[in-house]
Amino acid sequence: MFAMTVRQRGRMEGQFELTPGMHAIVGSSGAGKTTLFRLIAGLEHHPSLKIRWNEQSIDRLLPHQRPVAYVPQRPSLVPHRTIEDQIRWIAQGSLPHWSHWIQWLNLEELLNRYPHQLSGGEQQRAALLRALVAKKPILLLDEALSQIDRPHRVSLYRKLQETLGEETLLLFSTHQWEEAEQFSEYVVFLQKGRIASSNNITQTVPVDSEMARMMGYVGSVPVPDGHLLIHSRTIVLGQSLGPSLHISGQGYQQPVSPTLSRYHFLSDDGRLLLEWIGNPSETTQFDDISIINPVLVPFSLPSTQGGG
């Protein structure tokens, strides 16, 4: 069990509890993800900080004494040691034990190189392995896979999920909401230095429009109890089902590539209501849409995405 509380005004405030497993930290740029990780890892301090792990208080321990391994966002390999040297150093000698991972991460041929001789993604993979061999029960990945291509990243997450020990906690920050959805049980959502929510992923409801947009919602419809948020993936084209989930209007599809289309949906009086990117479909024109699993929230999202 991991529990954290902090009350550092303007920098990091809030608290959350997590069970072992794989969980995501989500928040827009500058929300405080890195700050949170650095607090957990012991690189930043605040008197109000309380961290408990398995009933032990760890917030007064020095960074190297904490049960935490942390992969920062920026390149972090030791520049003047080969990949093998530094991984072996962290692993304290037992590399053969890790040969499966080395192979899986495609690092075999890179082991005797220096970090500056690796590409960005290769460095990230090496840094990940280096953190794994530290064998700490808490692993923090701060956008640590951001420079690895999508399919590899996805299989890496899956692999991590599979090999995670029973008693291990993996926290990762990501800018791809789908990855949080796919691979985390809980999501800790940060906003301007506050821990805004921490929920089971299947129950996560956006607390404000920023979070909603980050989660991929593209618009909202006012209903008596609040607003219905619309996610591009929950839209079903054409007339459908129950009246509360049904929005009337006309839409058309604009193919972007063989596998991607842009959709525009206008109200009956010709106003652009929604615009989204999604799967191609067989119809280029359609009447009305309906929404699967609508999410009801007390705030509204403009129907088209704004800037910045």
């Binding site: 890892a41 012991g42 690189l43 020095l62 960074p63 190297h64 904490r66 935490v68 391994a69 942390y70 920062p72 920026r74 972090s76 390999l77 030791v78 520049p79 003047h80 040691r81 530094q86 150093w89 962290i90 220096y114 970090p115 500056h116 280096r130 953190a131 530290a134 700490k136």
Partner: protein, 249 residues
């Protein structure tokens, strides 16, 4: 621009090497110098005492520079810098005069055992001439190593001590090597302090001075050339062995 800089640097190098060339041209017979017992003794004394002095410099200087670079709060750095400039500014001659008090029998140390004109006195004189140069150079280099390099492995369970040896030391070595080369130059060239407190056993600079009085300038310069020759290998080796660790793309 680059061309101009190149030419200018060439001139600088030429200017720097004028004394070396003149020394070669005017030095008396190298062979004869080394045949004299005094000359051989001086070489032995300088190398022997110099290596001890350098070792002491390292022993004192490395921890101090590390502490200054790592544990001193940034806002205090300038104060420490100012403080350290004071011993740096002690000229060799003044050091000699002052050390006369320290090593003589009048001092707390000297009252039990006078260190003037002893090997130990010579080593002390050399240490004082070189240590501030070592500390300041080494401090500067250590300060240029980003803190984040250390943090990045602390968070993987490595203690600051382990981190020092694996991460910091190899990067700092280049700086320590240059600092040691400069300390060594001060040590083997130490004249101002030894001539006051350690005329005996005569290291090379004092021996050169004596040689000048006894045999004249060519013989003295012959010994000076020996000084360059025998003192060159150590810093060259340091420079060769611990040359810059380059790691940026």
């Amino acid at each position: 621009m680059r061309r101009l800089l190149g030419i200018w640097s060439g001139i600088t190098l030429a200017v720097l090497f004028v004394p070396v060339v003149v020394l070669f041209l005017h030095a008396g017979s190298l062979e004869q110098t080394i045949r004299s017992t005094a000359g051989r003794n001086a070489i032995e004394v300088t190398l022997g005492s110099g290596i001890i002095a350098l070792a002491v410099d390292l022993l004192f200087g490395i921890p101090l520079s590390w502490i200054l670079a790592r544990l001193v709060r940034p806002k205090w750095r300038r104060w420490w810098g100012t403080l350290l400039i004071i011993p740096l500014l002690m000229p060799p001659l003044v050091l000699g005069l002052v050390l006369a008090y320290v090593v003589g029998p009048a001092s707390p140390i000297g009252s039990t055992i006078s260190l003037a004109n002893t090997f130990a006195g010579l080593v002390i004189a050399q240490i004082y001439e070189s240590l501030p140069f070592f500390v300041l150079t080494a401090w500067g280099y250590l300060g240029a190593i980003p803190r984040s390099l250390e943090e990045d492995v602390w968070v993987l369970g490595k203690s600051p001590w382990q981190t020092f040896w694996f991460v910091t030391w190899p990067m700092a070595r280049a700086g320590f090597a240059i600092a040691a080369a400069m300390a060594w130059a001060r040590i083997v060239g130490a004249f101002g302090a030894p001539v006051v407190v350690a005329y005996h056993p005569s290291g090379l600079p004092v021996a050169i001075w004596i040689q000048l009085q006894e045999q004249g300038l060519p013989a003295a310069l012959g010994l000076a050339l020996w000084l360059i020759i025998v003192s060159l290998p150590l810093p060259v080796w340091l420079n060769w062995r611990f040359s810059h660790v380059r790691y940026d793309r």
